[in-house]
């Protein structure tokens, strides 16, 4: 098992320029993610979850503040080629919208194998074996890998996006709404797999989702975002049973209103 990761988020903030001027999508946030913890980031639409997650993953540039992975400034690391390799080998993100995240001209095997070669330094033969292992883990028939991204269903493409991230065996996996677009019948399978990956590899996770029950199942702790700021955080158990912020209470009440599924 590789060394557990330590991620420090310090005063991290982002502004966008909109039609009526500058507005703050993420207010300066400070927290840490340690190896093996799975943080569930929940919050209403537009609260800044994806923006925060993208900055932590190194996919968006912060307006203010820093992210350190194992003591090194991510956004400085990303300025060099060697630094990028080092960073993407440790941190992988699966984004909300997978339609645009694959090159339409390349096969999926190619897309999944590339990070294994470039980031992990595997030979083509080794990388292909790693791809097959990862596809088997995600219950993806290997034959699908020879297709192009447009020839798959949304759910299959979503699983290939997960495969492309897991193929490098990241120590931090950032997932942005990875199951929201999937069928209930596959959601459970994927959530089980993600949790198991983190348990087996001691990997940390940042799991962004608006689905509270799914997030609570996967995560060890929850962070609740509202209007660009984390308004509540703590172990899943305590946030769910004793929510402190009115928004969290409202969210949990919305789920309590749902008839519970039959226990099996």
């Amino acid at each position: 098992m590789s060394a557990p990761i330590r991620v420090e988020v310090d005063g991290l903030g982002k502004d966008f320029v909109g039609p009526d001027g500058r507005f703050t999508a993420v207010r300066d946030q400070t927290f840490a993610i340690d190896g093996g913890t799975r943080i569930g980031l929940i919050g209403e639409s537009g609260s800044g979850k994806s923006t925060l997650a993208r900055m932590i993953a190194g996919l968006a540039t912060p307006t203010r503040g820093t992210v350190h992975v194992d003591g090194r400034d991510v956004h400085r690391l990303l300025a060099t080629r060697a630094g990028r390799t080092e960073h993407w080998r440790a941190v992988q993100m699966v984004a909300q919208d997978t339609t645009s995240s694959f090159d339409p001209r390349r096969t999926l095997r190619d897309a999944v194998a590339t990070p294994a070669v470039r980031l992990c330094g595997l030979t083509t033969v080794e990388a292909n074996r790693r791809v097959d292992e990862t596809l088997a883990f995600l219950s993806l028939p290997a034959a699908l890998a020879d297709r192009r991204p447009s020839d798959l269903s949304g759910g299959q493409r979503q699983r290939f996006a997960l495969a492309r991230a897991l193929v490098v065996r990241p120590r931090l996996l950032v997932c942005d709404e990875v199951v929201s677009a999937l069928d209930v019948s596959v959601q459970g399978t994927i959530l089980n797999l993600l949790k198991n990956y983190s348990l087996e590899f001691g990997a940390a996770m940042l799991f962004v989702s608006h689905g509270l029950p799914a997030t609570a199942f996967v995560s060890t702790s929850l962070m609740v975002m509202r209007a660009g700021a984390v308004v509540e955080s703590g172990p899943v158990e305590s946030v769910v049973t004793a929510p402190a912020h009115p928004y969290t209470r409202q969210l949990i009440a919305a789920y309590r209103g749902t008839p519970m599924a039959v226990a099996s």
Binding site: S50, G154, L191, N192, A261
Partner: protein
């Protein structure tokens, strides 16, 4: 009358009042089938249902089961080369052409659709304000000034209070959830008779999804319109509808009253769906239950290869009887938990170890 329409066809503009108009049905379909070009099987087979004014019906099922195809067929938006047939197809009691005449599919004027993928349905280059005002003016004949006021009102109704910023934004400048709410506003502001919502709230958090669903259902009730709600969120659907239709492999396999979903559902697939929904109560569970992955064709009952109750009898397609398409409902009701047990997932480490050659 069997309509079999592949191209333009004439339909009497003023059909005589049918029994549907008398009993007030908004949508009546019988034996609706769709086959896409080159496909070996029908995408949907033998779909029948009647929606009265004010009815709210949910259509649930997994990806590829034919939910969207059903919605598109009813909305008149199937690709031109799809082959559509039905024994009966009427909106507001008037028989409808199965495909609108013309080169491009055109939406039926009385039917509004809300789609799951807001990014591709909104015009990427014009502002939300322009798009909303255009629909308001075209559909309701509102003046420029009225449309401006009502556009802001509609945004507030779907929970977008920052109206100035949203009206001036282009779709990519909004979050996924905000775009989805804009779509709902655009679809509802034209005051349709039937609203078909295809995964309208999948991008919203739970409390906003509930608000949006509450809004949809309130508007439906106000206007006497009917609603066909397509979603994979079976519990959310059930909460806001009167009836749930469960689809599997292009067929309706179960029809059940929404309030009795958890107690009365008797099809193994419906049971499996219900058990695999994560719940807050089950947040501490080690693993979630899951329906086994699909394994290709099996013949007979389409669910056979994944079904834990299957017997030899299931080699024959069961009929939809008393709302369920299954030979063994008694066994299911006796042991509903068997539909989707919680089993530990595979181990990536073990997969990797096994396959590394010596």
């Amino acid at each position: 009358m069997r309509q079999n329409v592949l191209g333009p066809r004439a339909v009497p503009e003023t059909a005589a009042p049918s029994p549907d108009q008398v009993d007030g049905s908004v949508l009546a379909v019988e034996g609706l089938r769709v086959r896409y070009p080159g496909a070996s099987a029908e995408a949907i087979s033998d779909i029948s249902t009647v929606l009265a004014a004010g009815d709210r019906v949910a259509l649930v099922g997994e990806s590829g089961s034919g939910k969207s195809t059903t919605g598109l067929a009813v909305g008149g938006l199937l690709p031109r080369d799809a082959e559509v047939t039905a024994d009966r197809f009427a909106i507001d009691g008037r028989p409808q052409p199965l495909m609108a005449p013309g080169v491009l599919p055109r939406r039926r004027p009385d039917v509004s659709m809300v789609f799951q993928d807001a990014m591709t349905c909104l015009d990427p280059v014009s502002t939300i304000g322009t798009q909303l005002r255009t629909v308001l003016r075209d559909a309701t004949g509102a003046s420029r000034a009225e449309a401006k006021v009502r556009a802001a009102e509609w945004l507030r109704r779907v929970g977008l209070d920052d109206t100035v910023r949203v009206l001036g934004s282009r779709p990519y400048e909004l979050s996924g959830g905000m775009r989805q709410r804009v779509m709902i506003a655009i679809a509802l502001c034209s005051r349709p008779r039937l609203v078909i919502a295809d995964e309208p709230t999948s991008a919203l958090d739970a409390s906003l999804a509930r608000q949006a669903m509450g809004l949809l259902t309130d508007l439906v009730r106000e206007s006497g319109a009917a609603m066909l709600m397509i979603s994979h969120d079976i519990d959310l659907c059930a909460e806001f509808t009167d009836r749930v239709l469960v689809m599997y492999a292009g067929r309706i396999v179960e029809e059940v009253a929404s309030e009795r979903l958890h107690t009365a559902a008797a099809h193994p697939y419906t049971r499996g769906l219900l058990a695999s929904v994560p719940t807050l109560a089950g947040a501490g569970a080690e693993w979630l239950s899951a329906i086994p992955a699909p394994t290709g064709e099996s013949g007979g009952c389409d669910f056979r290869a994944r079904c834990r109750y299957a017997t030899d009898r299931c080699a024959e397609l069961p009929p939809l009887e008393a709302g369920v398409r299954c030979w063994h409902t008694a066994d299911v009701l006796a042991a509903p938990g068997a539909a989707a047990p919680a089993v530990p997932p595979p181990s990536l480490r073990e997969i990797s170890l096994e396959e590394v050659p010596a």
